[in-house]
């Protein structure tokens, strides 16, 4: 490994070595290497194979602008090795190749059959006859693709998330971005600076060119970086790629960690008052035959490879460039030991004389108005052909590196995502921001500036403008910055479009999708004549490079053909994420937030099988027996205890509290009286049932009410929404978590309750539908309701949550002699089904009215004051025909298994569906409830039930009266 370790621009720590595994061999590198630079330094030139043709692909950009160097790293496919730091022990594999490395791939023969894969191949081929496609698709998917991911793949690593705050967010840590950050920070604002690379410096960072009499560009970059780091109110995130921009300056980014930080990747979300985009430029690829052959790379890639990582890209090189950075790189790389044979510059004039002079001093010929037309070489480039843009003749050079670049193209993706409008600028050849939303500013090279001082001044001005958005800088300061910028060189002239005369069958406009100029021409010949359509038909720009390679050339090429109805070049749409981002990074820390009741642990220790019910964890079963026979029998015969703490609980108080109750409940709430509970329901404006619960009066204009678990989160807002214009003086407090609730149910429930309280809980003193407040063990206050949801003597004890565990334990202790045991949600479901009680959401859906459920009696239609929510609809639907009605049914065959919830009831067509059906332990029969059409709702009707896997064997049931169990309610009142 022969590396230039003396260079002051290096970003390596020579004292620390790293080794990675590739193709069964170990390769040594230096800390600071990326995986790609480490492999390149070890002589690896082919990193992978292309998507369709399996062409060899190599290092091209170093910033991940194409998928050439995507590799599998430690089992994770599609890792961008150009920007992923090498870590000791990494195991790296080539992708889309049969074999250990990408050097030789038996599927490479597909390149010879590229003629068989024209534009729109997938849309046009192998569809007829249709039976061919499933077979073809399987083979195509085997032969193509990027990486392999098993369905049960589990992402390794630690993924974090962070929401830093900023007044000004600057994206891009180059000279413009740093200048913008410093300008904004000097006003005292909080500034966040995001930089994609692991260090600040941008296009100054690696260049030894003169900045001023005091130093070079890279030295200037370090000075600026030092200044930035010293300002407390600038927060720098390096190795952090901005991937999205949304309304109101919400910026999203992903930080990759190469060091000892506590995460592998971190999702970063910033809400800023103002944003400065200073993302600079990338190079626009030259279009020529075999322009993606390994050995062909961007000028900046070759230059940075040497200057940042100390790796010379090869032994001899030809440059085909369109900007002065190419000339500068040719001079510098030649001095570092790369033999530069020739420089072809697409520009006829406009080059910096000083650079031409330096090239001349080194006897490097410069061909103005020339460009490369072909790279030759079987696997890697070993010869190139140059030709004049306007004229005849050609020259060939044997070389192992071709540094090729048509010019520069600005990275405007974030501006577009932020809803900025771009227009093509003939002078710079850039898509420049034409109209930016408020609070978004652009700066630096992406505006066409090339002069170092202009770039910094542009950034400084943008930083002041951003500060002004926050009210922190003055117009005078901005005017001064404007004047300064005006006194410096403006945007430079861009390079001309390089005419492409060849057929273009291997001139790749998009490396990722193996899309060539020939494909674009084919697409246009078929009528896809605007870039957006061509992009979709050829897939150009839709690969993992996210349009980085194709994004500029495609619209320019289409425009140059003169065949497009939209003659002005228009960029294709970009979308976030701007760079490929792991879903794991978006998922972040994945804290699974759910609620636990105060007796969660004891439910678990009692054998409870917990399930997520909405936001809550609840015990559904307490045994493996899904029929819950023992639990149900115990409630029917002894006493069971259920944790019902998830019930919604509210206090509503104030002079107009009753009016609010009247408004949202369908019942006559004036009948709520001390010591009694009132059961009622809430409907929506359509008269459909949305909630039910009980209400008690605890004092003057002071009520306590319950809501179903699922509605607890919305209940307070429901009240407020439906009284928002009335100006009523009432208030509502959510007490859901204040009280735990124990449902003590069964014929021996009273005996258990009496054992823990001195209060008289006899049937006379505390009757059915009664409400009492008393102390348990003479110490713990309880609100007790006598209810009967499960069809037995039953109490709901509402106790302060902090006492809940102690009370629960005490009840279990007190109930030992009475056969007390837990019952879970499924047992409750069976018990209430036997009793014919409905559960909202189980026996109702969004179209089910109170009348449909047989609960019309709850509606008090003559309330004196309040207009009940849903009353009008209840009136209209009361006698409406064609509605589904709730019925109870028994299965005809007692040995039949219960039909699945949701099974449809058929009669040539669908006539309804089964809401809930279970085997009734108490009745020794399968019973259920269903919503059916009127014609099937009569007692004695026969229901034909279709299940999704019944194989044509229907189940049959008969409509019967409800409730199935204790029809006269004797057990509730015992």
């Amino acid at each position: 490994m022969n590396r230039r370790m003396h260079l002051p621009t290096l970003r390596l720590d020579p004292q620390k070595k790293v080794a990675i595994q590739y193709g069964g061999r170990s390769y040594q590198g230096i800390e600071g290497d990326t995986i790609a630079t480490l492999l390149y330094a070890n002589g690896i030139r082919i990193f992978g194979r292309s998507l369709k043709y399996h062409r060899p692909r190599g290092l091209y950009s170093l910033d991940g602008e194409c998928g050439n160097t995507l590799m599998e790293v430690d089992g994770i496919p599609n890792v961008r090795t150009e920007s992923t730091p090498a870590k000791d022990g990494m195991i790296v594999k080539a992708q889309n190749v049969i074999g250990k490395t990408a050097e030789w791939d038996p599927m490479g023969f597909l390149d010879k059959f590229s003629w068989a894969m024209p534009a729109g191949f997938y849309y046009r081929t192998l569809h007829k006859p249709a039976a061919v496609w499933p077979v073809a698709a399987r083979w195509i998917r085997k032969a193509a693709g990027l990486g392999v991911l098993a369905p049960d793949f589990e992402m390794k690593g630690r993924y974090d998330e962070i929401y830093p705050k900023a007044d000004v967010c600057v994206i891009g840590g180059g000279p413009a971005g740093m200048s913008a950050a410093l300008a904004a920070a000097q006003t005292g604002l909080r500034v966040v600076l995001l930089e994609n690379r692991p260090w600040l410096g941008g296009f100054f960072d690696y260049r030894p060119a003169v900045y001023n009499e005091n130093g070079t560009l890279y030295e200037r970059a370090r000075v600026l970086a030092e200044q930035v780091q010293q300002v407390d109110n600038i927060r720098v995130f390096t190795h952090t790629a901005a991937v999205g921009a949304y309304n109101n300056n919400l910026i999203t980014a992903v930080q990759r960690c190469g060091g000892a930080a506590s995460f592998d990747q971190r999702y970063v979300e910033i809400r800023a008052e103002s944003v400065v985009v200073a993302t600079g430029c990338i190079e626009r690829p030259l279009l020529f035959e075999n322009n993606e052959r390994p050995g062909v790379m961007q000028v900046g890639c070759a230059h940075r490879l040497a200057r940042t990582w100390g790796v010379l890209p090869g032994e001899s090189a030809v440059f085909s460039i369109g900007h002065d950075l190419g000339l500068e790189a040719a001079v510098d790389l030649n001095d570092l030991g790369l033999k530069v044979l020739c420089v072809a510059d697409v520009r006829q004039d406009g080059q910096k004389e000083a650079l031409l002079s330096e090239l001349e001093k080194r006897n490097i010929p410069v061909l103005k108005g020339w460009a490369v037309v072909e790279a030759l070489g079987r696997k890697t480039a070993n010869r190139v052909t140059l030709a004049p843009l306007n004229g005849t003749g050609s020259r060939r050079f044997d070389c192992d590196v071709l540094a090729a670049s048509a010019g520069l193209t600005p990275l405007t993706g974030l501006l577009t995502l932020a809803q900025g409008k771009l227009r093509y600028d003939d002078h710079t050849g850039f898509f420049l921001p034409d109209k930016l939303p408020r609070g978004v500013h652009a700066a630096g090279r992406l505006l066409g500036f090339d002069d170092a001082f202009s770039v910094e001044a542009s950034g400084h001005r943008a930083g002041l403008c951003a500060a002004a958005d926050c009210g922190a800088s003055s117009r005078r300061e901005i005017q001064t910055a404007d004047d300064r910028l005006a006194s410096l060189p403006g945007p430079v002239r861009g390079s001309a479009w390089v005419p492409v005369s060849a057929e273009g069958k291997k001139s790749f406009i998009c490396f990722d999708e193996d899309a060539t100029l020939k494909h674009v021409r084919q697409a246009m010949a078929m009528g896809f004549d605007v870039p957006e359509l061509i992009k979709r038909f050829t897939a150009a720009g839709t690969g993992p490079g996210q349009g980085g390679i194709a994004g500029h050339n495609l619209p320019l090429f289409v425009s140059q053909t003169g065949l497009s109805p939209a003659p002005d070049p228009k960029p294709t749409t970009v979308r976030s994420p701007l760079i490929p981002t792991y879903l794991a990074a978006y998922a972040g820390t994945r804290h699974d937030m759910s609620k636990r009741t105060p007796v969660h642990d004891s439910q678990l220790s009692a054998g409870g099988r917990m399930e997520r019910i909405g936001v809550w964890n609840r015990a559904r079963y307490f045994s493996e027996d899904r029929s819950c026979r023992l639990e149900v029998e115990n409630v029917r015969n002894n006493v069971g205890v259920l944790d019902a703490s998830t019930l919604g609980k509210f206090r509503i108080h104030g002079p107009d509290a009753l009016k609010a109750l009247e408004r949202v409940y369908v019942g006559d709430m004036s009948k709520v009286s001390p010591g009694r509970i009132k059961y009622s329901a809430m409907c929506n404006e359509d008269g459909c049932l949305i909630d039910d619960g009980v209400i008690v009066e605890r004092g003057e204009n002071d009520y306590y009410l319950t809501a179903s678990t699922g509605r607890a989160g919305e209940t307070a807002e429901w009240f407020r929404y439906h009284t928002r214009y009335d100006g009523w003086n009432y208030h509502i407090v959510n007490l859901t978590d204040v009280f735990g609730v124990i449902n003590l149910a069964g014929p021996r429930a009273r005996e258990v309750l009496q054992a823990i309280t001195d209060a008289d809980v006899s049937n006379e003193a505390f009757p059915f539908t009664g409400y009492r407040e008393f102390l348990l063990w003479s110490a713990v206050p309880a609100r007790a309701m006598r209810l009967g949801f499960v069809g037995e003597l039953s109490y709901e004890l509402h106790v302060p949550s902090s006492y809940m565990q102690a009370v629960w334990d005490g009840i279990m202790d007190a109930g030992k002699g009475f056969g007390i045991r837990n019952f879970g949600l499924e047992s409750q479901n069976i018990l209430r089904l036997e009793k014919g009680h409905v559960i909202i959401g189980a026996e109702s859906e969004q179209r089910t009215t109170l009348h449909d459920l047989g609960l019309g009696f709850l509606w008090h239609r003559h309330k004196p004051e309040a207009k009940t929510v849903g009353a009008a609809a209840l009136r209209q639907t009361e006698e409406q025909k064609g509605r589904l009605k709730l019925v109870g049914f028994n299965m005809e065959d007692p040995s039949s298994p219960p039909p699945k919830d949701g099974s449809v009831i058929v009669d040539g067509t669908i006539r309804g569906y089964v809401c809930t059906a279970r085997y009734s332990v108490s009745l020794k029969a399968v019973v259920g409830m269903a919503l059916v059409e009127d014609s099937l709702a009569g007692v004695g009707s026969r229901l034909e039930i279709f299940e999704d896997d019944c194989n044509g064997n229907r189940l049959y049931a008969e409509v019967v009266k409800m409730p199935f169990y204790d029809p006269h309610g004797v057990r509730l009142r015992m």
Binding site: E161, R596, A779, V780
Partner: protein, 207 residues
């Protein structure tokens, strides 16, 4: 029978070394190996009240004034009062004698409703910015002040109690049921900063 024993919604992952019984609660005053911070302190045993009234501006619970502007807070004699909106405020008792529930119907004791925790130490904001997108460092607001919004996607009331380069303190409440997962999330976010559970005594440094 320990029927009088009240329980916090959470138990912190550390060994209590100093406790005291207070109104049925076992209050941990100090844990083993609390370190130098940052600290996570469970204050769920501290009394909290909801006050709602159309004439809230005229109310002076225990003689304390209620901030007039929503999202402003005041801390007086160990009582933190946070104005939530036009008609509502929350009251958190943090130090001193526990105040009794005033007789007016506007007050509701909501001590049991929520987890109340405090995060105290130097890197408080570095920890909490991993949990919420709310801006706790808004320089236009002077502590104490209230924010209402999601922390780890859970609706919370957050009070920036103290903000300085050396030591800051943030307190917040969320529904009691979320307590277990909230503690897990905070400890996980604070792990890289060396967060440790601390007893109530650690709060005295800032209250």
């Amino acid at each position: 029978m320990t029927i009088h024993q009240r329980r916090s919604p959470v138990s912190l992952p550390a060994r209590p070394v100093k406790t005291e019984m207070r109104d049925g609660w076992t209050v941990v005053l100090e844990y083993a190996d609390e370190g130098e911070g940052p600290w996570l302190i469970d204050l769920s045993h501290r009394s909290r009240f909801d006050i709602q009234d159309g004439a809230i501006d005229q109310m002076t619970p225990w003689g304390f004034s209620i901030p007039k502007v929503p999202l402003e807070s005041v801390f007086q004699n160990g009582v933190l009062i946070n104005r939530m909106n036009r008609t509502q405020a929350s009251i958190w008792h943090l130090a001193g004698e526990t105040p009794r529930l005033p007789p007016e119907s506007a007050f509701t004791d909501v001590t049991e409703a929520a987890l109340l925790i405090a995060l105290v130490g130097k890197p408080v904001f570095s920890i909490i910015e991993k949990l919420t997108a709310m801006d706790l460092q808004d320089s236009r607001k002077a502590p104490p002040f209230l924010l209402q919004g999601p922390v780890v996607h859970v609706p919370c009331q957050v009070v920036v109690f103290k903000r300085s380069t050396e030591q800051s303190a943030v307190l917040w409440t969320c529904s009691r049921g979320y307590g277990h997962d909230m503690i897990h999330a905070v400890m996980d976010a604070g792990a890289e900063f060396g967060i440790r559970p601390a007893g109530e005594n650690a709060l005295s440094a800032v209250v």
